[in-house]
Structure formats: structure tokens, C-alpha cells
Symmetry: C2
Subunit: 409 residues, 2 copies
Amino acid sequence: MRFHLECRECSTPYLPQKVAICENCLAPLDVVYENVKIEKSELELREKNMWRYFELLPISSKKSIVNLGTGFTPLLKAEKISESLGVSLYLKNDTVNPTLSFKDRPAGVAVSKAVEFGDKAVCCVSTGNLAASVAAHASKAGIEAYVITPQNIEREKFTQIAAYSAHVIAVKGTYDDANRLAALASLELGWNVVNITSRPYYVEGSKTIAYEICEQLAWNVPDFVVVPCASGALLRSIHRGFKEFYEAGLIYSLPRLVGAQAAGCAPLVKAFYRGTTEIEPVKEPDTVAKSIAIGDPADGKYAIRSVLETDGCMEEADDREIVEAIRLLASKEGVFAEPAGGVTVAVTKKLVELGFIEKGSSVACCITGNGIKAQELVLEGFSPPVIEPDIKELARAVSGEVEELHAKS
Amino acid sequence: MRFHLECRECSTPYLPQKVAICENCLAPLDVVYENVKIEKSELELREKNMWRYFELLPISSKKSIVNLGTGFTPLLKAEKISESLGVSLYLKNDTVNPTLSFKDRPAGVAVSKAVEFGDKAVCCVSTGNLAASVAAHASKAGIEAYVITPQNIEREKFTQIAAYSAHVIAVKGTYDDANRLAALASLELGWNVVNITSRPYYVEGSKTIAYEICEQLAWNVPDFVVVPCASGALLRSIHRGFKEFYEAGLIYSLPRLVGAQAAGCAPLVKAFYRGTTEIEPVKEPDTVAKSIAIGDPADGKYAIRSVLETDGCMEEADDREIVEAIRLLASKEGVFAEPAGGVTVAVTKKLVELGFIEKGSSVACCITGNGIKAQELVLEGFSPPVIEPDIKELARAVSGEVEELHAKS
């Protein structure tokens, strides 16, 4: 056996089965790998997707892998933003994963694991990135996907989910009601709800972001890594990834981790500034960054611990700053991010201005999802000039700057 | 000088400047490379994006490259469709390029070339994939993008274009009116309209699809490559790509090329079956595959020549077959394609059934764009059951199959 499960708090070991919570202390379980040996030179020859890190993923047989080509997404130098901030800013561009978000990493692992368990179906509660990713991987695996969602979600949100032929069940109630129902389905019906039933495996997928950043910077580690925080699992998973590469002797330092939240739902930032890991839930999240607006984050305290352990911090950005950052990223760097990506860039900007991120530092920002899924934000105020099909009107429409804009060849 | 331009018909040579049409015979110009030397072993070490083929791209200096990480998109084995058709089907998944379509390849080259020419702006006529890609690359390059579009286009189509802060100019008229205006702007205002003014360079980007297929099949060549045809330039460019690799001694055979069109706009298919390269324009295209509905394709005759030269064919699929193929791809292989991708898969299916593609053949299908841009197609008839947040109702909603669907761990 290459890995087993272990309680995050009391270290009780478990066989790598479909179990997520410690029987003794009810804390979450983590995957622990045994005798990992991994060579840079061998790694560099492998296929450029997240399955190249097979030794550090909780899948027993390569045959179980459900591969849509996830991972090894571009790490782009944000040249103009770097220059204006005085840092070296890199964008980890997960907007181009198979279903257009980082969720393909955890969902890819969870659905592969479901195949290994012999499950004929997987389930999740989501109306967004997670549902699309679970649905796509279930399609590829040839198993069913059940997506539980609150009622009254805009129809357009279901485009990907409908395309991948997932079974959608709308619940008369809130997101919380849908989540409680899924937890019950996991317990009482034995459903594999990927982010509940299979959580120890599911969260492992996201740490491949850390591995890739190391490789893409030629085995160097950035000074800071900025991660959006919803449940907190992504930040903790990325921290694990860096630690595992450090312990395997592949890198020689760890980055300082920054957790980024939207001001309209920032329970981790608030706890961090109160100097505690005890989270006060936010009852009514109110932000444009809906994909990370989790009021009572399950892995919140662990995310804060990771931040403290690496001498990092938690910071928030408000809706205006988030939308500005989305526009900045798209119009200066050609990367169109959903609000969660805007949050990381806005927080980076703020921390440079505050001096927490020193000038000259290298910073990697996680751009976790594609802006095309949050179109209403950028279309506000969009109103192009309308002209007759006439060359003089065209020239006027671009306000006389035409001559100087175009060089002669 | 590593490359020059040459007339496609009369072979008159030109310096590699901003010129697209032969002065003598008005035929299009092509880029011709001189003394290309490229080694497999060296190539395999390079960065995994389309700029790894620098020697075969018409950019003079690597400094001009506008790199958003385009290319080296996954080549996925479509396992279930392969099995049902009795062929080895591979999907060249360009739905995950930076702006979610293959257009990042030609637009990436054209905008890099504009940087090299010293242009301060680029222009295109498009409401879809091309405009999004030109806008994103212009942002990254720090130059302006002007997008000319017919009036009365649905607002949602502009999501990406608005995000990347392109200047949109709506024309009172049809798509043809907008195109004529852009051609005039190129001629009279000296604008760099990427697919007109810079066409010889622009079309070069798409051939990287051919290079990547060769590399991703370990330097083997599939028996067939199926390409959607709009202007015809994509198919011809892919043909060029395979020929260049063949001439460089990197591969030892050429694939048979299949051009795929929607029945509602299939001038190339019609010409092919009439046994001619003379295209009769389609006056009123009528198909769901809007991104490839070009009634009078500029490179049509060259696409037919490529098909004839490789012993391939042209074939069409109707709207029902296209939508069915989109659903098949998404629900069996986890890839959500726009209609142009549906066309290639539908045509492949038809040609296997007709026996033109023999059982046991290997086939690569170009999946050129992401289905999320054509959401109305898959949401038709989407109507999930609505339940109370109650575990019994949930179990009933999935119609009693729950028990047997879930294995015990």
C-alpha cells in the first residue's frame, strides 16, 4: 500500500477506504504517502498534466485515472502588472482547465477514486465550477453524476452541467438546505458526495497547483503564493503540496501563503486579524465573488494555520476592487478571470501597497476560474457606438487617432 | 532572413512585409521558410505551447511573441466513441486554449507580427472566437483592438470582448457590410485587419495543430484528420503543417484530410461532389454552426485541393446530427464543444458508417471551440425535478436506482 489515511488531529490511522471523518475525534482524515521517491529528471519527461504526480496522488492503479488533460496550466508572467507593482507577478492560469476551473483537479481525483471504489455514480452540491467538473469527469468515466442545487438559480448557470448530461435535482430551499440533504444522502443512502464522502481524496487534487508552480519556475519557489479562500481546503492543499516537494528534496524553501477573501464574506480574514483560528460564521454573504462565498468554511482553521506556519497573512478585497482587478487582468494581461481570480490579484495589489509583500518579491497568484462563467460583471455599461457601414464614419468612431495608431510597414 | 512571401499561384517572391495579395495575379501570398532544421530531441525539451515551433512560424524575433500559453492542447483518446465506431478516435481539444478556441493560434501569430511591424492597433470583423482572441492578445501586447460587428448581435456574445476592453464598433448592416468596411479600412486607412491585411502570417498559426498531433502520437500520423471548414484556411493550414513536418523528415506519411461542413452552409462539400474547385456561394447560410457558416469561402478551392491531394473528402452534417454529436462528445467523453466541433464528430461517424473511413483506422478530429459559447443549444429542454429538502424525496427523484448505483467500500 502506497498510502493510508490518518486523522488530522489525533493521528489515528485508517485504511484508504471510503471514510472521511475520524471515529475518535470527528476531525477530518488526510491521505499520508509512504516512501515517496520522485526524481526531477524522470518527472520532466512525463505527460504535461496533473497525473504526472501519480506517486503523490491517492489513486492505487493508473488504470483508474479519469484523464481529461487537467493541469499543467500555464504560469504566465504578468508583465505589465509586475512593472506597475514593482514585483514579479505570475498568474497560475486555471481558467483553461478542461471545464474552465481548478475544480478539475479535486474532481478528477475524486471521480478516479470513485471508479476505484466501484461506484456507479457520484454526487455534489454546486451550481458552478464543481458541478461542471464532476459532471464532465463522470461522463468520461462512464458513471452517473447527480447535482443537487438550490431552486431559483439562473438557467444559464446550468449550461455545462446540462451539456455533460448530469442529473440535476433542484431543492426548495437554500444552499445550506441542499448541503444538509447531500450530507444525509452520503450517510443514509451511501452516496459518494465527492466533497463530503471522498473529501480526503478530493482535496488532494488541488495540491498539484503547488507542484506545477515549482516545476514551471525551474524548481524555484516564489516568495508569496496568493490563494482564494472559500472552504479553506485549497490553501491548505497547496501548502501540503509545497511541503511534500520540500520533504522529497525537490525544493529548498517554502513560500509565504496569503489567503484572499471577498470583503462581503471574509470569516477567515476576520479570525486572522482577531488572532484566532476560531471562525465566526458569516450568516449572509454579500459579494460578487459567489464561488468563494462560504460563510462557515469547513477547513477554515486549517487554512489559517497554514498561513501562520508560513509567516503569511489573510486579506480581503471589496467588490469594487475585485471588479477592477478582473478588468486589469483582462485588459493588461489577456487573462479573463472569474471573481475569485480578481480577489487574489486585488489582495496582492493591496499587500504590495501596504508593504507586506516587499518590492522585488516574486508572487504567484492563483487564477482559479474563467470569467466567461460570470459574464454579467463585465457587460455592465457595455454600449458600443453604432455607425453606418461607411469608412468616414468608421474613422470618426475611433476619434481621429487612426493615423498615429497604425505604423506603415 | 528565415522566410519570405510567395504568390500561391504564380510564385512571385515578396519581402515579408505587410502585403497579402500578389500584385501580378491577385492570388494570396504564402510564407515560405528557408533551410528549416528541426530536431525531434531538441523539440521535445521545449515549452509546451505553440511557440515551440518558432522556426516554422513567421516571426523574426522571439521578443515579438505575444504568449498567452496557446497550443499544445490535449489530444484525448475518445474511448467510448472509438469503441462504438470501431476506429481509434482522438480529439484535438482546442476548447481549452486561452480564449477557448483554436483562433488563439492564428490571432497569436497575427498580433505578434503586428508588434513586429510596430502597429499600435489591430482590427477584425467578428462577434465570436476571432474577436475574443484578437482582443486578448492585443491586451497582452499592449496595443489596441478594434472589433467591427454587425448590429443586432446578442449582448452575451460580447462577454469576452468587453472583458478584454476591445473597442467595439457596431455597423448598421449585415456581416458582409462589416467585412467590406474592414477591407476598406485595411486599404484606405492602412489598418491591420488581422485576417485580411496580415492574412499570410495569420493563417500560419493554425498549422501548429498538425505539428502537435504528430508529437502527441509519438511522431505517428493518424490515417485521417477531420477539420471543420469555414473559409477553408484551417484545413489548408493543417495540410501545410503535415507537409512541412514530412519534408523536414520528422514524419514518414501524410494523413488523409476530411473537410467537414454544416449542411446549412456547405459550399465546399457541394463543389467537391460536383468534382470541381469552383465554389458556388451560399447566399443565406442556415445552420446552428454559426462560427463556420461562411457562404463564400476565400480559401475554399485550396481546401478542396488539399483534400484531393491527400485522397480525402468533404462531407456535411445537418443540424440534428451536429447537436447529437455535441451531446455525445460531452456525455461520453467529457468534452463540451461548440457546433463546429460537433460537425467534425458527426461527419466522422457518417464516414465510418459509409465505409469511407475503414474500421480500425486512426482518426483525429479537430474540436475547435468551447461549447460554453453556444449555451442555448444544450439548455433546450433542460428542466430538472424540484423537490423538498427531504431524503426520501431525493431517493424517489433518482427513481429507485440509488441502491444498486452505489457500491459499498
